[in-house]
């Protein structure tokens, strides 16, 4: 693949990644309770991080840097999935699902 196409693909991937971070942050601010906010943060940010890392991988020539970026992503994934589970569990144990069960869908 030629150099310019690679650069464009990288830029596109970085831009897409940043938009997912943006969407995750919007979700954090707009969503109604702790659980839904955790949903927004973990899922959108993981995808965003994956895309940013993919975009950066395309820009480097060194295999070591590619592997390092991959390691960062592989460590961030379980860390964020575990953190979101712990946050949800703590919330559940401390507030006993009262808010969620009374939340009605708008007709």
């Amino acid at each position: 693949m030629n150099e310019i196409a690679l650069q464009w693909l990288s830029a596109f991937s970085l831009f897409l990644g940043v938009s997912f971070f943006f969407a995750g942050t919007v979700g954090l601010l707009r969503f109604p309770d702790t659980y839904t906010r955790i949903h927004a943060l973990t899922k959108a940010d993981n995808l965003g991080l994956g895309l940013v890392i993919f975009g950066l991988m395309l820009q480097t020539e060194s295999w070591a840097v590619i592997l390092k970026l991959l390691l960062i992503w592989l460590l961030a994934l379980p860390a964020s999935a575990t953190t979101c589970h712990l946050l949800a569990r703590h919330t559940l144990r401390s507030e006993h699902r009262t808010r969620v069960s009374t939340w009605q869908e708008p007709q």
């Binding site: 938009s19 949903h39 995808l47 060194s62 390691l71 999935a81």
Partner: protein
């Protein structure tokens, strides 16, 4: 026994050296690297002396995982940016057939990254899953994840899946 330690140790040293090479971005400062690798090797044997199970299903599982975390990210981004913010959060109970501890941890972490699901509590054999939209086919996708994880670890789910279809 001795044979196992040599074999397993060599594999771990190779893996750790690869990590160090990546961390130093190829400049490979081995004067620091070798002691670090040795310390990591010792702690690796302290944490897990019995070796790791080979996971032949990993590429297939990784494909499944990547595709669904992509869907999960798009789904939640859409809900966040949508003017009406379509949410119908609820809790869903899910009875597990998996018993293996490592498999359960992987299951929880995978479910957390799937579209609209989040594990809030794990009792003995029951997950409490928080979902963003109760309209989604939650139980079906949870069953699929469970089967995928079981297949990855080479476990069988024979204890008749008494699915509580809520």
């Amino acid at each position: 026994m001795f044979d196992f330690f040599v074999k397993s140790g060599l594999k771990r040293i190779l893996f750790l050296a690869l990590c160090w090479w990546a961390l130093t971005e190829g400049s490979s400062a081995w004067a620091f690297g070798v002691p670090v690798i040795l310390i990591a090797l010792v702690s690796s044997f302290l944490i897990n002396p019995s070796g790791y199970r080979p996971l032949y299903g990993l590429p297939r599982f990784l494909g499944f995982f990547l595709w669904h975390s992509l869907l999960g990210g798009i789904d939640v981004a859409r809900r966040a940016l949508h003017p009406k913010m379509p949410l119908a959060p609820a809790f869903v109970d899910f009875s597990l057939r998996l018993t293996d501890e490592a498999a359960c941890v992987l299951l929880i972490n995978t479910v957390n990254l799937l579209p609209g699901t989040l594990v809030a509590e794990l009792d003995e054999q029951r997950l409490q899953v928080h979902v963003l939209d109760k309209g989604l086919p939650i139980l079906e996708s949870l069953r699929t994840v469970e089967e995928r994880v079981a297949a990855l670890f080479g476990l069988s789910l024979n204890q008749a899946g008494d699915t509580p279809h809520a």
